[in-house]
Symmetry: C2
Subunit: 247 residues, 2 copies
């Protein structure tokens, strides 16, 4: 029972929120590409996942890897997100996202923010992020298939997984400082957000990402996603929202 | 760093044992196929994994699923096994197995043993295993890529993952009874095996599979694989081996 004999449900806001939360809280994913030199044989392995400020999933891979070689020849790929917890692996929500990959060169204006956002989420990647054979790829979602557990299947469009807001440019400019400020001067806020909105029980959470649609919260190897009710329409809305969520 | 900029190591017996253990202890896997009607777009989702008596991985999927439709059109597929534990997802061993899928019909002589072996490992599948739209597929490994953690990459051939022994036919005939006997009359044995050979700490393990190359041990949602030093050459070797392993 891989895919439920699918009676697709109508895709509603709750399903979209689950889909976004699954993708944006994924530390890693299974990534399927077409194996180079094998006439289109599918090939799946594991990759660390980052998320760009507009919601696009991002990977950091070496030129020497099967993935880079594959995506250079055919940029179509498929991501599986949703970690297996206890119990039946098929009872846990997971999502397949069909994407088109685009390499982001180092002189691309988006490179700096990708690098910073990725390293805040995966600090150990600092060890190799600047190696000359490594590069970021943005994986733009084309469509997705969400399985929220037995009998809860939904089809999503690529834009359902993206973040659109006039605030994005301003948020890019201020994200790093806002995170530093929150984690230093309001060090308990991330833990309160994680406990209040993300079912966390531990102390010690920090903010690792702020975008127009929500917050990324980290504790060691754990990652939680707090989705705002509505995306911010201006960067000026961030501060009052963070105060309100603090309660 | 999806695939390590791969300096492949020589594939030795230790690597083969790790590969077999990873595959045979997997409860589920990411399964990549080619999406039907999408001109070869890769598509990855999650499937429960069983193992046939000869080591072949097995899935149980519905005719209505993307997987069945895909594999009916093109039987090439890719499995990713190796669960993510704590810490860096890329520090954990995982393996990509390139397979060719073959549907096993209900009147096939192999169907009964596949069904029994699968249900011992996944008892909840009893709910749907006999639905008319569900079928087993054997996924015969063609080659594999093992990543044992940073800098430990190995290439394997399909036969490295298979179990070959003249004892297989006799083991098929006796497996169910042997398991019942061990779990009823020597109920502590599975726990002792799991603790002695598989780093388990809990009590309450049971045996869910016996083949020429080892034992499958289950406790709730957990699955461990005990690989014998050498495959059994006759079914008569099983009993003395189980006694010796009990210590």
């Amino acid at each position: 029972m891989t895919d439920k004999p699918s009676v697709l449900r109508d895709t509603d806001d709750e399903a979209r929120k689950l889909a976004r939360t699954l993708l944006r809280s994924a530390r890693s994913a299974a990534l399927a590409v077409l194996e180079p030199g094998e006439n289109g044989f599918p090939f799946v392995s594991r990759a660390l996942i980052g998320i760009d400020i507009d919601g696009t999933p991002v990977i950091l891979i070496s030129k020497l890897s099967t993935h880079t070689q594959a995506l250079t020849l055919d940029n179509r790929c498929s991501l599986l997100v949703g970690e297996i917890g206890k119990g039946d692996p098929l009872a846990h929500a997971r999502m397949t996202v069909q994407c088109l990959a685009e390499k982001v060169e180092r002189d691309d204006t988006r490179h700096l923010r990708l690098r910073e956002r990725f390293l805040r989420r995966h600090p150990k990647a600092e060890l190799y992020v600047d190696f000359p054979d490594f590069a970021f790829f943005r994986l733009t979602p084309q469509r997705a298939s969400l399985n929220g557990g037995f009998g809860r299947a939904y089809a999503l469009d690529g834009p359902d997984l993206m973040i659109t807001s006039p605030a994005i440019a301003d948020l890019v400019a201020m994200e790093g400082r806002a995170i530093d400020h929150m984690n230093s001067d309001h060090a308990d806020a991330a833990t309160r957000y994680a406990q209040t909105f993300c079912k966390a029980t531990e102390e010690g959470w920090t903010i690792t990402g702020i975008d127009a649609a929500g917050l990324d919260l980290s504790l060691g190897d754990k990652l939680k996603r707090l989705e705002f009710e509505q995306p911010l329409q201006s960067a000026a809305e961030l501060r009052p929202l963070l105060v309100r969520l603090y309660g």
